[in-house]
């Protein structure tokens, strides 16, 4: 099955650099420490609402881990680079759909990042902080389903960012703009219900809460699994958009360089 072959190859390619990635986890952990201490500092004279101080520590720690599943994917799924080298022309003529190829490779990347980034960082936080542990296996399963939905949505968004490389040489900025929006609107650091009204509306009208806010709340047992219906609806809508954009890409292949 092509999906498994591509995902496995992507996983194995990453495996070659796992020592380097483990060192990189130190930096990622440090960022998490900073974010956690911000909330611990605020909790000095605030009760932090329904979360409480331990809830917010767990919320931020979980999100720092889930960044590696739902946010930090390959820039534009590597399509921008493929446009630069001209490889895109070959990729578009392959007998498998470009979206399917790119998505399959990215799932391998995500599986790798889950194993070698999410898990070790989570374990470290688990040792250092009083982290919340899901009360039932059903919560664990729904959290996993939420992360999978978030990862898939992010794959679609990155595919669209990569596709933009066929129209502009500056598409890499879109990746960082998406990350910036995600930091603010996904509830990564600040739960969406604490955003000002207009930002809450902007967040609610987007897919961003499904990257961090909803998975983290399900993990904490503060959100019902029903919330995932909307996540899977977004995933379906974005898939259709990716397929439509691929049609446009086929008619607009511009290979740079010579």
């Amino acid at each position: 099955m092509l999906f498994l072959v591509l995902a496995r190859k992507s996983y194995l390619r990453n495996l070659q650099y796992r020592s380097s990635h483990m060192i990189h986890n130190i930096a990622s952990c440090l960022f998490g420490f900073i974010y956690i201490y911000i909330w611990v500092g605020i909790a000095d004279d605030n009760s932090l609402g329904e979360y409480g101080v331990n809830g917010m520590i767990s919320y931020v720690a979980f999100n720092q881990c889930s960044l590696w599943v739902t946010t930090f994917l390959t820039h534009g799924l590597g399509i921008g680079q493929s446009v630069r080298t001209g490889q895109i022309a070959t990729d578009l003529t392959r007998p498998a759909h470009l979206f399917y190829q790119s998505m399959s490779k990215e799932w391998g990347q995500i599986a790798y990042q889950f194993t070698y980034k999410f898990v070790p960082i989570y374990l470290l936080y688990f040792i250092v902080f009083p982290l919340h542990v899901p009360g039932s296996w059903a919560t664990v399963a729904w959290t996993a389903a939420a992360l999978l939905a978030g990862a898939y949505i992010s794959i679609c968004v990155n595919y669209l960012i990569g596709a933009a490389a066929l129209w502009t040489t500056e598409s890499h900025w879109l990746y960082w703009v998406n990350i910036a929006f995600s930091q603010l609107l996904s509830g990564f650091l600040i739960p969406v219900d604490w955003l000002p009204g207009w930002l809450q509306s902007a967040s609610g009208a987007s897919f961003y809460p499904f990257l961090h806010y909803i998975p983290a709340k399900i993990y904490l047992g503060l959100e019902r699994a029903d919330a995932l219906f909307a996540a899977y609806a977004w995933a379906a809508g974005l898939t259709l958009l990716c397929l439509a954009v691929t049609g446009l890409m086929r008619r607009n292949v511009e290979v740079q360089g010579g």
Partner: protein, 263 residues
């Protein structure tokens, strides 16, 4: 003088080459400003919701953010490719710089001069807004303005020193991205918030090992709150000079150990 003239010529040439792609320049300026604005928005949202972080109000936190941000903008404008030394080490492109009739570091600093107009405007806007609020409330007087200028310039020198020392480690280990993540990115993120929110070990790290707290928090203690004394601003400038000297020394030793990757 001759070196300085060559430096000016190379900087002007770098800017001219960058301005050949005007749309790319303005687009990237707008995007980087937007990304920075979102970064500040996160801090502003927290303060909007909770009023203060351990006694630091929104205007005070805005000041901390703006001083740090402007210092970094100056550093990254004039030494953009010092931050990107890794790609020169990996590709062997540093060899070309060794042949130029100017110091290697100066040559590196003239490549890809990065004019960060968006970040500069955004940083200045937040600084002016914060200073206006603080002066209007009577917390500080106009004497804070020159001190703020000193804090920004010394912060730029400090961050350049830290960045240069980190880049110099690349002469031994080649890949420095992770190290930069810790010494530059994580440290800068931490310094956006008042130092007192962190546990003692992290405060020690940000004051002693990677002394980024001297880029904004330490001078701000005196400028905004009158704590300590004027010597806090002077000490911050002195530490910036020491960090710069240490970075330069490490650079010189590292460069003497440079081995090209060849081609």
């Amino acid at each position: 003088m001759k070196t300085l003239r060559i430096y000016r010529l190379l900087v002007a040439s770098s800017i001219r080459s960058r301005m050949q792609y005007k749309f790319n320049f303005w687009f990237s300026s707008a995007m980087s400003a937007f990304i920075s604005a979102v970064e500040f928005a996160m801090l502003a949202v927290i303060l909007h919701k909770f009023g203060h972080i351990q006694g630091w109000s929104l205007t005070e936190s805005g000041y901390l953010y703006a001083v740090l941000h402007l210092g970094r903008t100056i550093y990254r404008t004039f030494a953009s490719d010092v931050h990107h030394l890794e790609k020169y080490l990996v590709s062997g492109d540093l060899d070309g710089l060794l042949l130029r009739p100017i110091p290697v570091l100066l040559g590196l600093m003239t490549l890809n001069v990065s004019i960060r107009i968006g970040e500069l405007v955004q940083g200045l806007a937040i600084l002016i807004w914060s200073l206006h609020g603080l002066i209007a409330s009577g917390q500080i007087g106009f004497a804070a303005l020159p001190l703020t200028f000193i804090a920004i310039v010394s912060g730029a020198a400090l961050m350049f020193g830290i960045g240069l020392a980190t880049a110099s480690v690349g002469f031994w280990i080649t890949r420095i991205e992770v190290l930069q993540n810790i010494t530059e990115d994580a440290a800068r993120t931490a310094a956006q918030y008042p130092l007192t929110i962190y546990p003692k070990w992290m405060q020690g790290l940000l004051l002693g090992i990677i002394p980024i707290a001297f880029a904004n928090y330490m001078p701000a203690l005196y400028i905004l709150r009158g704590q300590g004394g004027w010597w806090l601003v002077a000490a911050s400038a002195l530490i910036a000079l020491l960090a710069l000297a240490a970075g330069m020394a490490l650079w010189r030793v590292g460069l003497s150990r440079y081995q090209s990757t060849g081609s």
